[in-house]
């Protein structure tokens, strides 16, 4: 259930973790170009080594109160997605052995809530996050049911 090594980070005063293998780089915020028509938590597109990558504000997507920090950008493994998450801060890498307890959580995004020396951590399911983002994009598709053809 828990991965061997997790990357800890924070957003909206909460601790989260992703499987370290799912993250390919942690970057400083960089030039981002807005994307018309996307939901508001999409900051836009960034150029990550030639990959056009969506930058999503994680707190915004989770409907949590964000904080006005420059923050960090977590780039998801480019083999899995073209997605970067804007988070508040990136902490340490957590070894599985330091997890003292885990409980499941009804939120499908959360694989488990882990008890760690740093406190309670929501381990995110990347696949659920991606699927959720995709469903949201499909649902917020422009209204093409308008009668009259224009």
């Amino acid at each position: 259930m828990t991965a061997e090594r997790l990357l800890l980070f924070s957003a909206a005063r909460q601790l989260f973790a992703l499987n370290l293998q799912e993250v390919c780089e942690v970057m400083e915020p960089q030039r981002c170009y807005p994307l018309a028509g996307a939901p508001s938590h999409y900051h836009g597109l960034i150029n990550f080594h030639g990959n056009l990558t969506a930058l999503v504000d994680l707190a915004g997507y989770l409907r949590l109160q964000g904080r006005p920090l420059p923050g960090k950008v977590l780039v998801i493994d480019t083999k899995l997605a073209h997605l970067a998450l804007k988070v508040d801060a990136v902490g340490s890498i957590l070894d599985a052995t330091s997890i003292t307890g885990a409980s499941s959580h009804e939120d499908p995004l959360t694989e488990a809530v882990l008890d760690t020396p740093h406190g309670s951590v929501h381990l995110l399911r990347l696949e659920a996050l991606l699927t959720g983002l995709e469903q949201e994009l499909q649902q917020s598709a422009p209204n093409n049911a308008k009668p009259g053809g224009t």
Partner: protein
């Protein structure tokens, strides 16, 4: 012995055999006596079995072995090659295809194969009664490469590496050692090459921007020379990516055959231009749209044979799929000699569905009326397709073609037939696009979707009902704001001039107003991947010369 090193080769060669078997089956249905094709079918199944046994893929062995045994019975005269045998063999091809996908994904197979083997083992021909109705006719069979398996496909060597399916092709086969000067290349390498070329194009744009600031004639010369070289490099790389259309054409024969069989119609299927080369990436994305068009042609275009005879036509309907190349464009047509479409009926149906007002309907040209079939709400309703003779999913087809940077046109003559023509760019990676400004955002529109640009004075706008229209070539064209479509603040236009471009949406022309027209650019299209690939109205992204990223809009998906 470590067999994993042979897996990629096993997959690609097995798929070649599968394709060859499928084509042979369809070919044999046309001329069941063709001895050499019977032998070739037997050999195909036999080779598959042997390879799978070496890899210890037991399920594949079971299926291939049962197919081999069935063909041995046909070869030895114990069994005629009848439609039942053909169906079983094609079922086996599909079964193995799924099993190979499991192998490729390294997941355990869940398909039961024993039942299939059993059915083949006990198969006896049905007692003769009415002749089967389908007559899907293939042309001379062709070689093919693994389009479905991008990781194992080998584009440039496709033609000579593929298994030659039928008798005459086999005679003409070059000995492997004489296929001089060809190499197998991994497709990832090809993708990488085109990526690098694209990055160079983007960098050239950057240099152009800098040169514009520096105003140095020698630098300008050097850049224009670089641009020329880049164009040649791009052309060459693109040539390497070309694969013959035949890499996907066997599916169409099978799909026509199966729809004909289901609908009980007699169909003569013709295919020309199988040797025409298309970009690998584009081929993959053409399979579904073309399948759709062909199924529509058979299912809705071609009449029942009784109706045809009463109309003085041959009982057997003809569906033609033709591919040709016209300099830098690919043209694909699907033509049937069926009942055709009546523009007036199409308009009446659209009015009845509330898609058009009767007044709007009167304004449509016959060509525009036919394009109504590409409007989403129009085409899905059963009663409409029965009247129009076509239309199921044509909106999806149209959207897919536009996404590839192509255009779709329909011509039809009632009682004579319908032709749908696709015009596609030779490549999809580098396109010309109109870059526009909307609010704080720039966006790109592929020029194939742009009929023209107009700078409209506010005085030229007429309010008709709730709509704003303007006159272009004696046609009233409605205006639409791209800002509004994208949910951005509307433009203000203090000088009273509205920049817009004219495009075609839902069968008629529309003027799309933007804040500014920023000119045409050569863009290297990049896919956006997860999650943005799912965003409607966006076909990809590209980097402009100054490093700015723009979304490439897919107007068909947006409007």
């Amino acid at each position: 012995m470590d067999m994993s090193q042979y897996k990629a080769l096993f997959l690609s060669e097995s798929r070649e055999y599968l394709r060859s078997i499928a084509e042979q089956v369809v070919a044999l249905e046309q001329s069941p006596g063709e001895r050499s094709a019977v032998d070739a079918l037997f050999r195909g199944a036999h080779s598959l079995k042997g390879m799978a046994a070496s890899m210890e893929y037991g399920d594949v062995v079971v299926v291939a072995h049962s197919m081999e045994d069935l063909m041995a019975r046909v070869r030895d005269g114990a069994l005629p090659f009848d439609p039942g045998v053909a169906d079983l063999l094609l079922e086996g091809v599909d079964l193995i295809d799924v099993l190979l996908q499991d192998v490729e994904q390294e997941r355990p197979s869940t398909l039961p194969t024993g039942d299939f083997a059993q059915r083949l083992a006990i198969y006896t021909p049905a007692p003769p009664k009415a002749a089967p109705a389908d007559q899907a006719e293939p042309q001379e069979p062709a070689a093919a490469d693994a389009v479905t398996a991008p990781h194992s496909a080998t584009a440039p060597a496709a033609a000579d590496a593929a298994a030659p399916p039928a008798a005459e092709a086999e005679k003409a086969k070059e000995p492997a050692g004489e296929a001089g000067g060809t190499v197998r290349v991994k497709t990832e390498l090809l993708d990488h090459l085109i990526n690098l070329t694209g990055e160079l194009v983007t960098n050239k744009q950057r240099l152009l921007t800098i040169a514009g600031e520096l105003a140095s004639p020698p630098l300008n010369d050097a850049i224009s020379e670089t641009a020329k070289l880049l164009r040649s490099l791009h052309d060459e790389v693109m040539k390497v990516r070309l694969m013959p259309f035949e890499a996907i054409s066997d599916r169409f024969q099978r799909s026509v055959r199966s729809v004909a069989k289901k609908s009980g119609k007699e169909i003569h299927f013709e295919l020309t231009g199988r040797e025409i080369g298309l970009d690998r990436g584009m081929l993959e994305q053409l399979v579904d749209p073309l399948n759709h068009m062909l199924r529509n042609a058979v299912d809705h275009g071609i009449e029942e044979s009784g109706d045809r005879e009463r109309a003085g036509k041959p009982a057997r309907g003809t569906v033609r799929l033709a591919v040709s190349r016209d300099r830098d464009r690919i043209q694909i047509t699907v033509r049937d000699d069926g009942r055709g479409m009546e523009p007036a009926t199409m308009i009446a149906a659209a009015v009845a569905k509330g898609i058009l007002t009767p007044e709007e309907g009167e304004l449509l040209s016959p060509r525009q009326a036919l394009m109504l079939s590409c409007i989403p709400g129009f085409s899905t309703a059963k009663e409409v397709t029965d009247i129009s003779g076509r239309g199921v999913g044509m909106d999806a087809v149209n959207a897919a073609i536009q996404k590839l940077g192509g255009t779709l046109g329909i011509e039809s003559e009632p009682g004579v037939g319908t032709t749908i023509s696709l015009r596609l760019p030779l490549t999809i990676a580098i396109i010309h696009a109109l870059v526009v400004q909307v609010g704080q955002v720039k966006a790109a529109i592929p020029v194939n979707a742009v009929q023209r640009t107009v700078e409209l004075s506010r005085r030229q706008i007429e309010n008709i009902g709730k709509r704003q229209m303007f006159q272009l070539d004696d046609e009233a064209i409605p205006l639409l704001s791209l800002n509004r479509v994208l949910g951005m603040p509307l433009g203000r236009f203090p000088d009273g001039i509205l920049p817009l471009f004219v495009t075609e949406a839902r069968g008629r022309r529309v003027g799309i107003v933007v804040d500014r027209l920023l000119g045409q650019h050569e863009l290297f299209v990049k896919q956006l991947g997860r999650p943005l690939a799912k965003m409607a109205g966006v076909a990809g992204g590209a980097t402009l010369g100054d490093g700015e990223i723009v979304a490439i809009l897919d107007l068909a998906g947006l409007l």
